[in-house]
Each structure stands twice: as C-alpha cells, then as structure tokens.
C-alpha cells in the first residue's frame, strides 16, 4: 500500500503543479473587473450570458473578450484586466406558451472602465429581440428568393441579412440568417429598411467559419435592397459562385501572407526545443491579444521557421497557435513570444528582424 501511495504521489504531483500553473496563468491583472445586475421588465434575470467586448458595436465582429453569467438574482461578476469594455447581456429562453425568444441589450453606459477593484455597471433591462430591439417584422413585409448554383437550387444554404456593410458582409453581426429549403428557396419576414444579403454554403455544412475552396459564396447582386412597409419583394434567383481553389490561394497570398519590406522571422519550438511545424504566428497591436490579429503568418515550416510580413514598424504583441482561429480546443498548440513580459516585439519599418524562438505547448 505504501509503495502504491508513493507512486500515486509521484503521478499526481505533476498534475497538481500543472493545475496551479494553469490557474496562475489564468489570473488577470489584479482583482479588477465588472459587476452588475441584469433585469427583464425591471425584475432580476438569471442565466443571462454576459459578454464583454473591447470594441463598440460597429466593430464587433469578433468573439467576446470575456464571458460570464448572471445568478438567480441577476447578478454577475467578470474579472478583467485594466481597460475599457462594452457589456452585452443575452439570454435565449422559452415562454410559457412554448415560444422561443431572444432577450438582449447593451449596457447604456458602455464603455465601462476597469482600473483596480470591481467597477459597478448600472443595472439595465434586456429587451426581447424581434419585439423591442431588433428586426421587428411588419405585416406583409419581407423578402423571398431562391438560391442557386449553376442554375440548380441549393438546399441548406445560409442566407445572411446585414443592416450595414461595414463588416464586409462577414462575421456574426448579421441581423437575420435563414437556411434554404430543399428547393433552394428562402423567406425573410422583415420591417421596412435597407438590407444587404449574402448567401453561403459550406461543404462542411456549418453556419459560420472560414470559407474554403469548393464552398459556395456570393453577395446578392442587387444589394442593397430597399424594402418599403407592406412590400413583399420576390428577389428571384440568387446565384452563388464556387470558391475556386486557385483564386482562393491567390487571394490569401495577396492578402495576409504576401511579402512586404517589413517582416519578422523566427522559429517555433516545443518545450524540448524541437521544431514544430504548422503553427501560425499572430501579431496584435493590443497587448491583450484578443480578437482578430492584424497580421498572421503562413504555417511554420518543418524546421519550425516562420516569416511574419508586416506593413509597418511598431510594437507588435506576438502569439502563435496551430489553429487559424476559433475557440481554443484540446490538442492545439499555443504559445507567445516571451522576450518581453507583455509579449511585445518592436519592429523597425523596412527591416527584416528575427525575434528568435517562440515556444508552444499542447493544450489538453
């Protein structure tokens, strides 16, 4: 028995250390954060997802910086480093008559500053989307059409409706999204307004995510669509084009990975200093390193080497991961440039600099 316990201690000690290290790594700067209470019809509302963003609404095409939830009294608390934040509350639930509804609102006091300690966000009411807040359909008003490819109907494609085009008709800021039926047709009940439509069908079947060669994608050729109250508009055929592998590769090469006079290079290694291939290097302008990076490298080569092309000098905050984006998943490689505690690296314009090695670890 004693030997067994000794062996277990040896087995568990690394686990404990790993947990403590993980907890330490997760600790935000100080004890700052936001707290508040969420209401619906002036009553506390529990189970609300509290999303915290770094940017205002029009720029918010990224995942939230932090997420929390409200308790039975509608109260929430989210630990955050110093900075300015935008707070949104969201809750999807089912009414007593079986109707699914979405409750949502932004804090009227956005943005909220966090310095030290907890900043109190004044209570605010969520509104039912489609009723008080978002796209409230008006009687006899809407759009319909048929999504096609090469003249054939496209079933189970997604049609996304945006109220503005600032996002480039990409990302999750669309107002509505519907899926086409077996005959490729779709129907959107809407209020009067000015809309931009785009339709996509991913081979993998998802509603969101980066498009790949072979996926179908097109904006509606008649964008924007002006819709009057009481008008039911038949858009007719909404043709999609297939993303060509060659053009897709060219566009990526022309954009993110294209060579520039300013670059940093280096080598991706694991904890044993062995090269790791297939790792993207991300450059951020913000030391918090969240959301979309401003530059991304092509995957590291077999010897771990990478080149990150930049369009200007400055301080960039450098991270590396095996996935191109999305939530961190078990099995991914992830790491940061650790030449400075804040992961920053200063780059001179029109120079090619080496930042040495970036060590990545596998997350399980």
């Amino acid at each position: 028995m004693d030997n067994d316990r000794m062996q277990m201690r040896h087995t568990l000690l690394p686990l404990l250390l790993a947990l403590l290290l993980a907890l330490a790594a997760c600790t935000p700067d100080g004890d700052g954060g936001l707290q508040g209470q969420l209401l619906f019809q002036d009553r506390p509302l529990g189970g609300v997802q509290v999303e915290v963003y770094l940017k205002a609404d029009k720029d918010r095409s990224v995942q939230p910086f932090a997420v929390g939830s409200s308790d039975d009294q509608g109260r929430y608390r989210v630990s955050l480093p110093k900075g300015d934040y935008f707070v949104i509350g969201k809750k999807r639930d089912t009414t007593s008559d079986g109707r699914t509804r979405m409750l949502m609102a932004e804090s009227p006091g956005n943005p909220h500053s966090v310095a030290s300690g907890l900043t109190v966000v004044p209570s605010f009411n969520l509104r039912e989307m489609g009723r008080q807040g978002g796209l409230v359909a008006e009687a006899g008003t809407g759009l319909a059409g048929q999504v096609t490819h090469a003249g054939e109907p496209v079933a189970r494609a997604y049609v996304y409706l945006y109220t503005q085009s600032l996002s480039g008709l990409m990302g999750p800021s669309y107002g509505e999204a519907v899926q086409t039926g077996p005959d490729g047709r779709f129907r959107l009940e809407l209020p009067a307004g000015r809309y931009y439509l785009v339709a996509r069908k991913r081979a993998a079947g998802g509603r969101s995510g980066e498009l790949s060669a072979g996926d179908l994608n097109s904006p509606y050729p008649g964008n924007p669509v002006e819709l009057q109250r009481g008008e039911w508009r038949e858009l007719g055929e909404f043709p999609l084009a297939e993303i060509d592998a060659e053009r897709h590769a060219e566009r990526r090469a022309d954009g993110t990975f294209s060579a520039t006079p300013t670059s940093v290079s280096g080598r991706i290694v694991d904890a044993h200093d062995q090269p790791v291939a297939g790792i993207h290097v991300f450059a951020y302008l913000d030391s918090r390193m969240v959301g979309k990076p401003v530059y991304i490298s092509a995957p590291s080569a077999a010897d771990g080497s990478f080149v990150l092309h930049l369009t200007d000098g400055g301080i960039y905050y450098i991270g590396a991961r095996s996935a191109y984006g999305g939530p961190l998943e078990p099995g991914e490689w992830v790491g940061t440039y650790d030449g400075r505690p804040d992961h920053g690296f200063e780059v001179s314009a029109d120079s090619r600099q080496s930042l040495g090695t970036v060590t990545v670890r596998e997350v399980w």
Binding site: G47, G214, V290
Partner: protein, 396 residues
C-alpha cells in the same frame, strides 16, 4: 505521380493551388500514389476498389461528395489524412486502414457510415466534429501518438464495439460532445483510455471494458457523463474525477485497480450501486474540499472565464459559473449502495457506520491539506448504506 488505376468518366483539373480537383464518377483501383492534395467536390463520387493501396507522399484526400471504399489502405508519412466534409450515409468506409497521418480521418459534419476501420500510427486517428452523426462500429485505434478517437462539437456519432489499444495520450477524447451511443468498446494499454472533458460533455458511457490503462476514464472540468455498467480491470487508476467532475457512476465493476476512483478539486459525483473488488484503494480524495470550493472555486473559474483568448489559456468559453459551481457543499462525497468486496464488507460489518474503512482515503485519514498558503479540510466519503452482495454480475 504514379497512377495505376482506372478512371471512369474522369475529369482531372490540375490546380496550381497544389490540389487535384476531380469531378464526375471516379474509380481507383490498385496502387495509387499522390504527392499533393486530392479534392472530390460536392456532386462527385469516388469509388475505390477492394484491396487498393493509396499512398500520399504529401497532402491528403478531401471528399465533399461521396466516397465508397472497402478493404483499402491509405498510408503516408506525416500526410494530411482523409477529410470527409458533410458526407451523408451514402459515403461508406468499411475495412479501411489509415496510417501515418496527422489526422487519419477527419469527419466534418454529415453522417457517413464507418465500419471496421483501422486507424494506426497517426497523430490523431479519427476526429469527429461539426455535429457529425452516423455511426462508427467495430473499428480499431492502435498506437496513435496522441488520440485514437477525438469527438468534438456536439457530434452524436454512435460509437460501438471499437478497440483502443496503446494510444499515447488518450484512447478516446469526448470534448463537448454527446455520442448517441458509446458502448461495447474496449480500451487497453492507453495513457488514458477515455477522457470526457468540459461542460457540455454528458454522454452515457455504458458497457465498455477498460483493462491495463494508466487511467481508464478521466472526467474533467465540469463534464457530467453517466458511467454505467462498465468493467474497469487492472488499471492504475480506474476513474479519475478532476476539477468539478460530477458524473453518475453506477452499476460498474471496478476490480484490481490500484485506485478504483480518484476524486480531486470540487468534484461531487454520485457513486451508486457499483462493485469494488480487490482494489488496494477503492476511493481516494485529494485536494477535495467543499471549504476550498466555497473559498476559491468560483474565483478560480471566474479567472478562467475572463482570460485573454487563446494566448491567455482559454478563449470564448460560453459556460457560466452558474452552470459550473458545485451544488453540494456539505463536505461529503456520496458513494452509497455499493458492494465493497468481501474483505471490505467484512470490515464494514465489523466497524459499522462510524468506522474508517481502510479502502477509502478521505478526511478521516487526512483531516486537512495545504494549498495556496492555507489549510482546507479534506471531504469525507459517505459510504453507508452498503450492499452485502455483489450488484453488477459483470464478470472480468
């Protein structure tokens, strides 16, 4: 490229983007070798004749149309593997072997039929994601460096009668997924046989066999599966419950494990109606304290929620504290109605409810533990009432 195969109605388009895009009805037969990716787009169909051998020196095979393959071997060295993108049940792989790939087979959505596959010596044998459905039966996952079978993204694929042998880290890993069935599988000689992790991973795991693994089953980070009617024999650790793991553990046989169930960090399972036999330790608590949970649990989880995306350790988590916090803060781990083996039962009958069973390590043996500069009381196991007879009829 070396090709000895027949193409029926072929249309090959060599693409400068390092991919061959094939359309129409394609048939491969014999030995086929590629040094670039091959794409079968939606609407196209690839049939590979039995006993064909497909080798990739680089790239991989991506199918968005239909693939029919039986008794076929795919191989290469550090190649990309097969990708099935939203393929329906008309895509069928039977008796297919995939080896040497980064990910042997990646199923992104859809519901392909996968039978008698062999995934061997890949980094990851098979990954199911994107709400994949369908079934995976009688397949063998062996010697994959990291994970034999990875199930993610709310995939519901039925996983039946598979074998997982000698996979480096995990035989199978269920990450925010709930297979419709997970039964009749056998795990032997893996680092961890079955890992079930993160909130949203709450499958029923029933009627599986775990033998000689370092850890047979680990439940971690707010996963809440039901472990029912499994046999866990001769593992170093039978079930490891870690970081708010609250499974229902019932009707299992745990025999000959060095530690049958190890519980740590605010995990409050229901351990009911199982048979424990010949385990030096039936239950061991480590760093398990409702006082720690009350003092530090929420703060630790809040820190996790508020971190800085991928480069802070966790990103885009959508589960809140309400869903993760412990409901039971009485300092007791419930393990009632179990049969503790013949010797264990004799000890209990002798000592009664107030005894301190030698086969349980809890707060009776170690009143406190030290963590983060403070002492916390170690929880206790509530082991009464107990069964006087075996319950499971699960023979080793």
């Amino acid at each position: 490229m070396k090709l000895w195969f027949a193409l029926l109605i072929p249309l090959l388009t060599a693409s400068p983007a390092s991919a061959l895009v094939l359309s129409g009805e394609i048939r491969w037969q014999g030995e086929v070798e590629f040094a670039e990716s091959v794409v079968i787009p939606a609407g196209a169909s690839l049939t590979i004749a039995a006993h064909s051998r497909i080798r990739f020196a680089a790239g991989g095979l991506e199918v968005a149309g239909r693939l029919l393959a039986e008794q076929v071997e795919f191989s290469g060295r550090d190649w990309d593997g097969l990708v099935l993108k939203n393929c329906d049940a008309t895509t069928r792989l039977r008796g297919v072997t995939v080896r040497g790939a980064k990910t042997g087979l990646l199923v992104q959505g859809g519901a392909p039929e996968l039978v008698e596959l062999t995934l061997r010596e890949n980094q990851v044998g098979l990954e199911l994601r994107g709400k994949a459905a369908g079934s995976l039966r009688a397949s063998h996952f062996a010697d994959n460096a990291k994970v034999g079978l990875f199930v993610k993204d709310e995939s519901t694929t039925r996983i039946l009668d598979c074998r997982f042998d000698g996979n480096g880290k995990f035989g199978a890993y269920l990450y925010r997924a709930r297979p419709d069935e997970f039964a009749g599988n056998r795990f032997a000689g893996n680092g961890t046989g079955l890992m079930i992790a993160y909130h949203g991973s709450d499958p029923l795991v029933a009627g599986n066999l775990f033998v000689d693994n370092e850890t047979a089953i680990q439940v971690d980070r707010a996963a809440r599966p039901e472990l029912r009617g499994n046999r866990l024999l001769g593992n170093r650790t039978g079930i490891h419950l870690y970081r708010r793991a609250d499974p229902l553990v019932t009707g299992n046989l745990l025999a000959g494990n060095q530690v049958a169930i190890l519980i740590a960090y605010s995990s409050y399972p229901q351990i009911v109606s199982n048979d424990f036999r010949d385990n030096p330790l039936a239950i061991r608590l480590e760093y398990q304290s409702s006082a720690w949970e009350q003092t530090k649990g929420a703060a630790a989880r809040s820190s996790e929620l508020a971190t800085r995306g991928a480069f802070g350790g966790q990103g885009q988590r959508t589960v809140g504290e309400e869903q993760r916090r412990a409901q039971n803060l009485e300092g007791l781990v419930v393990a009632t109605g179990n049969w503790w083996g013949e010797a264990g039962t004799r000890e209990l009958e002798s000592a009664g409810f107030a005894g301190n069973p030698a086969f349980i390590h809890d707060g009776r043996d170690q009143p406190t533990f030290h963590e983060g500069g403070a002492d916390y009381p170690l929880d206790r196991v509530r082991f009464e009432p107990w069964s006087r007879t075996p319950l499971t009829e699960l023979l080793p």
